[in-house]
């Protein structure tokens, strides 16, 4: 059995590091942090628990920041110069997924943008970016802002996610009103008297929340949530298998500076006004791809055997021509077999198209599959 070489770089800790260790996590280096990849039950049990009950994830390694302008329109226009989403028309307390794009239409990072729900915080946007890219993202954003809009890092805040069908009932016990928040809304809240910011969102395809709180209070919240029988701590391993089954992109794998939002099948995240007006980095390419169709597309892939196809595996047409590559792949515990995502030439992107994956020099038959592999179960209000 081969093992990865030990990495000697000093790793940062999240405020929940001691909790992970106390609960038997196996800690691994991830994006400069020492993070739990799994706890004693293992990835499959953690994955299944999240789909059936509720899982608690430490995502404090991700970058949280505020974009603050004199009013919403000014802050939103400043961000719109960097992302293809419509931020100007984002209502108070609403959240949106978007990407930082490059001049050539590639993706620098993907992020969540929330407009503060508070009337006295007009002009405040909250950003959550990926851990690995946060320094570069902040430099990129700060370097593009007008003088009256500032980027303020929120490094003093921790972030946890509570995900799964029992998440709403559990959070409601501590945070009144949480259960009726619709998907992709956010607001300031009190968790048993602790000030926090709650959004109904996540990265598993399940109903759930992300809770942003000052670092020195996060352990109290995490311990109380873990005190419920429905809630177990979940590591990065299951986070990855959950998001893969949900068809959600992982930056640096499914999307990067070589992929455009349209190729990545993220056109849904570009609202109508931005499609008409453009005005974001790479808009020329993105608008052309929206009009004419991209050369290639991100698709779901289901290997028709038990052999997982991993990132980097070549995709061929049924007559042997190279048509793309797998960008994420592994075992889907809820699917009960291997699942993957990758890019194929557009002619092969229709669901049910027969394709071939090359795994260890062997040809594995596979099918293009509609995403997600497991239906999303977001709460959109009654």
């Amino acid at each position: 059995m081969s093992e990865a070489p030990a990495i000697e770089t000093p790793l940062a800790h999240t405020p929940l590091h001691a909790l992970h260790v106390a609960r038997g996590a196996r800690m691994v280096p991830f994006a400069g942090y020492e993070m739990p990849v799994q706890y004693a039950d293992g990835i499959i049990a953690e994955h299944t628990h999240t789909r059936e009950a509720a899982g608690l994830f430490d995502v404090s390694h991700m970058g949280q920041a505020f974009l603050v302008g004199p009013d919403h329109e000014t802050a939103a226009r400043a961000l719109e110069a960097l992302v293809p989403a419509d931020i100007v028309n984002l209502a108070p307390g609403r959240q949106r997924y978007t990407q930082l794009t490059e001049a050539n239409g590639g993706i620098l990072d993907d992020l969540m943008v929330t407009r503060s729900a508070e009337p006295d915080e007009d002009g405040v946007l909250m950003l959550v970016v990926n851990a690995a890219g946060k320094e570069a993202d902040y430099a990129h954003i700060a370097g593009a802002l007008p003088a009256n809009v500032r980027l303020i890092r929120a490094d003093h805040r921790a972030l946890i996610a509570l995900q799964g069908p029992k998440a709403a009932a559990v959070l409601e016990r501590h945070c009144a009103g949480a259960a009726t928040m619709p998907f992709m809304t956010a607001r300031s809240a009190s968790f048993d008297g602790i000030d926090c910011h709650v959004s109904r969102s996540g990265y598993t395809g399940e109903d759930g929340y992300e809770i942003s709180v000052k670092a020195n209070r996060v352990r109290a919240i995490a311990e109380r949530l873990l005190g419920h029988a429905e809630v177990k701590p979940i590591g990065l391993g299951a986070r990855d298998s959950l998001r893969l089954e949900a068809g959600l992109c992982l930056y640096g794998h499914d999307i990067d500076t070589t992929t455009s939002p349209v190729e990545a099948a993220l056109a849904w995240s570009i609202q109508k006004r931005r499609r008409e007006e453009g005005g974001f980095p790479g808009s020329e390419r993105v608008l052309a791809e929206l009009r004419d169709g991209p050369h290639r597309l991100r698709v779901g892939v289901r290997p028709e055997s038990r052999i997982p196809a991993r990132e980097g595996a070549q995709i061929k047409s049924s007559d042997g021509a190279p048509i793309g590559k797998i960008t994420s792949g592994g075992f889907g515990p809820s699917v009960g077999g291997p699942v993957a995502m990758g890019y194929v030439e557009r002619a092969f992107a229709e669901p049910d198209t027969s394709i071939v994956l090359v795994v260890r020099d062997k040809d594995i038959p596979a099918r293009v599959t509609a995403l997600p592999f497991v239906p999303h179960r977001y709460y959109r209000g009654s």
Binding site: M1, S2, E3, V37, Q38, G42, I43, I44, H47, G237, D240, S241, R306, I307, P308, R310, G330, F331, P333, P338, R360
Partner: protein, 125 residues
């Protein structure tokens, strides 16, 4: 007599006459986590000590398994196709991977004994 020897790559090999069973150690399975597929070699394949002999797939990653000794693959554990988690449940027993007809049983003397392997694993954490 059936003595088990161990490699630094966390394979075990158990001699029985001139054949030997090969698998991964308890330590290896605990490090890998849930095993979801084992890619086994074809029967009749000849391997040299240190050659890739199989690939074990966990949820997270694929890991190569090396032949602890030289020989011909004379059997593989077909039960792993439907029950790969057997590797987690009984890594050094029912979770064996393959059976080798050894070219030179003396090769095993170069490998670690159970005590030496235990001491080796203790240095890893």
């Amino acid at each position: 007599m059936s003595e088990t020897r161990y490699t630094k790559e966390h394979e075990w090999i158990r001699l029985d006459g001139d054949t030997a069973l090969v698998g991964i150690t308890e330590h290896a399975q605990s490090q890998l986590g849930d095993v979801v597929f084992v890619d086994l070699p074809e029967i009749g394949k000849n391997v040299m000590a240190g050659d890739e002999a199989a690939v074990v797939e966990s949820v997270k990653a694929a890991s190569e398994i090396y032949a602890p000794a030289s020989g011909e693959v004379v059997a593989v554990n077909d039960a792993l196709a439907d029950a790969p988690a057997t590797v987690n449940e009984d890594a050094e027993g029912k979770g064996w991977f393959l059976k080798l007809k050894l070219a030179d049983p003396a090769e095993l003397e170069k490998l670690m004994t159970a005590q030496q392997y235990k001491d080796f694993v203790a240095t890893l954490s």
